[in-house]
Amino acid sequence: MAEEQQAPKATEPTKKRKKAPIVIGVIVAVIVVAGIGFWNWHEQPSFCGTVCHTMSDHVTNYEEGPGVAHLHQAANVSCLDCHQATLDVQLAEVRSQLAGDTDNLGLADRYYVDNSVCLDCHGGSYEELAKSTEDLGAYNPHANPHGEMNCNECHKGHAEQQDTCSQCHENGGQRMLA
């Protein structure tokens, strides 16, 4: 990408005038190509892992490890599909970077995955999701009497799964597999 970013050098004023539309065209093309290239790269797990910060275990256990992240990898779902990076979030992150505050990018907060993100693919709504696990009967965790819970309380993205139900009472013998 580096060589593409070198705009052609104009030497003679006369030629320059003639070439101006071409130069602008080239610059636009370069920006577009670089933009698409950057965008594609930006979509890769390697981007998150190398460009801005160390991702601790998040990238490695996306490949393999505890948590549902690696299942998503197998299904071809990448980091930013779930950790949705809206512009204001990214700008806030860049601000922290520029301020040298790289230890505290607030990643857990900024890239928090809330239920709507999970439900978008899994069921569409909490009620529909509950129907898909109906055969768990009285202990269907998605239709529990305490109400909707955060998906990631049990289904940890990058950590050991948590069986929240059994933290207080029996759960009908269910186990978390992933």
């Binding site: 806030a92 899994h122 069921g123 009472h169």
Partner: protein, 587 residues
């Protein structure tokens, strides 16, 4: 993940792919964590409650910036809380543009939050059959986590012959707060909780849950925390043993029954999945209503008579726990309530318009018997080992085991690294005393805890010490000393009062279980007067604004005094009932 993974296979794929920067910023425009990932335009819906914690728009500094005065920081150790349960904050710090407010609704009384307190407030405000009540709950179910309530007087207490002097009870509550309390809230509870308990029974009679209140005698004292009996408990022939055995199970059924009764009343409109986001005040300072949000977006509610804040505390908002609580109260602890609605919305909304918040650090309700993931469930069968001596990281006993819950939590958090590695000791003596099924249950469940490092077992104390990471001779000396106290009948170190109930740590097998603090609720909130009006910082009532239950304040300081039975739920019911009565009359 369930046994059959295929059931959870994605049903809809449509992720945003390589769509370019324009799409990225368009996505940003729909809100920080709005549902922007789906390519299909028609499927683009915004998350009902955006989780904006930590994002530029809603920085954590809101927890200090919200106060209407200059604040100062006391340099305290900064540590993350062990509470991982995180709900979505609904409070909106910025102004909500008029263009985003889709409609306006009119009511007499707006009840914000429909857990136990909000249910009581909505019932009480609508008791006259004419006052229009709009009750809005953020989650799909209101929180109902409790087994009993603490009251002074009332029919059931009186019939059972348990007569408590209200003056004595007020003194006990104030003493529990080291007298750091205004007058009214404790007085309101002592004067009217008995009446509120009677009223609550009437509401049960109106409902379909066949719920009955009854007086229950507890242990006469815990350690030297001598207090009168205050417990009113609940029962219903409809409840299974599971409901009654699980702490909080009955509460869930009560809140459900109240929702059912509210739905039957023609002057009540109860809605779920509808968070309240911001209070509105007119030029005279009167609270006129609030802005709430549902699937259609923001809407304005004008409440002609009053707004009741019943949104509980902030036990499901880790960032707020870190901002408002003592580090040692929140670091090595877990959450013990499967509800994520309590994110401090009610406190923040009130403070924003000038309400007086209890002084910080906030008081929390904490119990020990916790481990890093939660509270040791009764179903684990491990509880018999949790009554044993309390041992710290060095293998030294650190507190009397008959202390009330909050005192045990506090003593634990005063050990190394604020309670990072404290234990309860057990031995074959305690296990052999159990019925065969109970022994089996314990044996079946222990390995999972051992695997995670929460429990260790060994045939000798020396080996146990090794696994605990402490000095063997220290642990042996600690155990010998503890056993000696049981023989002599006097605890020279911690003055335990019920040594007669203690059993020795001896036999051919030994256990140590990690023991730490658990947070059930936060109990500091907005200071109210005798009528549940929210006060400003000059102690003047804010017109049109009431608060009750966990959202209200002036009742606890420092911590929740668990040696008194159930003052928290006693406050929820009494203040819910009283605030509803006053709001309905607009006085």
């Amino acid at each position: 993940m369930s046994e059959d993974q295929s059931r959870l296979e994605p049903t809809r794929r449509g992720f945003l792919k390589a769509a370019g920067v324009a799409a990225l910023s368009a996505a940003a425009a729909t809100g920080a964590f709005g549902l922007t990932g789906c390519g299909k335009a028609e499927a683009k819906e915004e998350a009902l409650v955006a989780n904006n914690a930590g994002v530029g728009k809603f920085s954590e500094s809101v927890y200090t910036d919200v106060f209407p005065f200059e604040t100062r920081g006391i340099p305290v150790l900064k540590k993350e809380t062990g509470v991982l349960r995180r709900g979505n904050v609904a409070y909106v710090a910025n102004d909500i543009p008029e263009s985003e407010i889709k409609r306006t609704e009119e009511t007499d009384v707006l009840v914000c939050g429909v857990g136990l307190t909000g249910s009581c407030a909505a019932l009480s405000a609508s008791d006259d059959g004419t006052t229009r009540v709009l009750a809005l709950e953020k989650m799909d179910v209101g929180r109902g986590m409790f087994e009993g309530m603490g009251v002074v007087g009332g029919t059931k207490m009186t019939e059972a012959g348990n007569i408590v002097d209200p003056a004595e009870m007020m003194d006990r509550m104030r003493a529990a707060a080291d007298y750091r309390l205004p007058i009214d809230p404790i007085k309101l509870w002592a004067d009217r909780s008995g009446e509120a308990a009677d009223w609550m029974q009437e509401k049960f009679d109106e409902g379909d849950g066949q719920i009955e209140t009854y007086y229950k005698t507890g242990n006469p004292t815990a350690h030297h925390f001598d207090v009168p009996q205050t417990e009113i408990s609940f029962r219903s022939p409809q409840w299974s043993e599971k409901t009654t055995k699980n702490a909080g199970g009955g509460g869930m059924m009560i809140v459900k029954d109240f929702a059912n009764t509210l739905n039957k009343r023609s002057n009540v409109d109860l809605r779920f999945n509808t968070p309240v986001c911001k209070l509105e005040r007119n030029a005279d300072g009167r609270v006129t209503g609030a802005i709430a949000k549902d699937a259609d977006g923001y809407f304005r509610v004008n409440a002609a008579k009053g707004v009741i804040l019943a949104m509980g505390g902030f036990e499901s908002n880790p960032a707020m726990l870190e901002a408002w609580c003592r580090t040692e109260d929140i670091e090595h602890c877990s959450s013990w309530a499967p509800n994520s609605g309590g994110t401090g919305d009610g406190e923040l909304m009130g403070i924003e318009i000038g309400a007086q918040m209890d002084p910080l650090p906030a008081a929390i309700m904490n119990f020990d018997f916790g481990y890093p993931e939660g509270f040791y469930p009764a179903s684990s069968g491990l509880r018999p080992l949790l009554g044993g001596p309390m041992i710290n990281q060095d293998g030294v006993r650190y507190a009397a085991e008959d202390l009330p819950f909050q005192a045990r939590s506090n003593a634990t958090n005063a050990q190394w690294h604020r309670g990072e590695k404290c234990w309860r000791l057990g031995s074959s003596t305690q296990v052999n005393a159990l019925a065969p099924e109970a022994q089996q249950l314990l044996k079946d469940n222990l390995p999972a805890y051992v695997e995670k490092g929460y429990a260790v077992e060994a045939d000798t104390l020396a080996e146990l010490a090794d696994k605990m990471g402490c000095d063997a001779s220290t642990l042996e000396a600690t155990v010998a000393r503890f056993n000696g106290f049981i023989d002599s009948g006097h605890d020279d170190d911690f003055y335990r009062q019920n040594l007669a109930k203690a059993t020795k740590i001896e036999g051919d097998h030994f256990y140590a279980l990690r023991n730490q603090s658990c947070i059930l609720a936060t109990v500091s909130g907005l200071v109210v007067d005798y009528y549940c009006h929210v006060l400003d910082y000059d102690n003047k009532p804010i017109e049109g604004l009431y608060a009750a239950g966990g959202n209200s304040g002036g009742f606890f300081a420092g911590e929740y005094p668990r040696h008194v039975f159930g003052p928290s739920v006693g406050r929820c019911v009494t203040f819910g009932y009283v605030s509803g009565q006053h709001a309905a009359k607009g006085e």
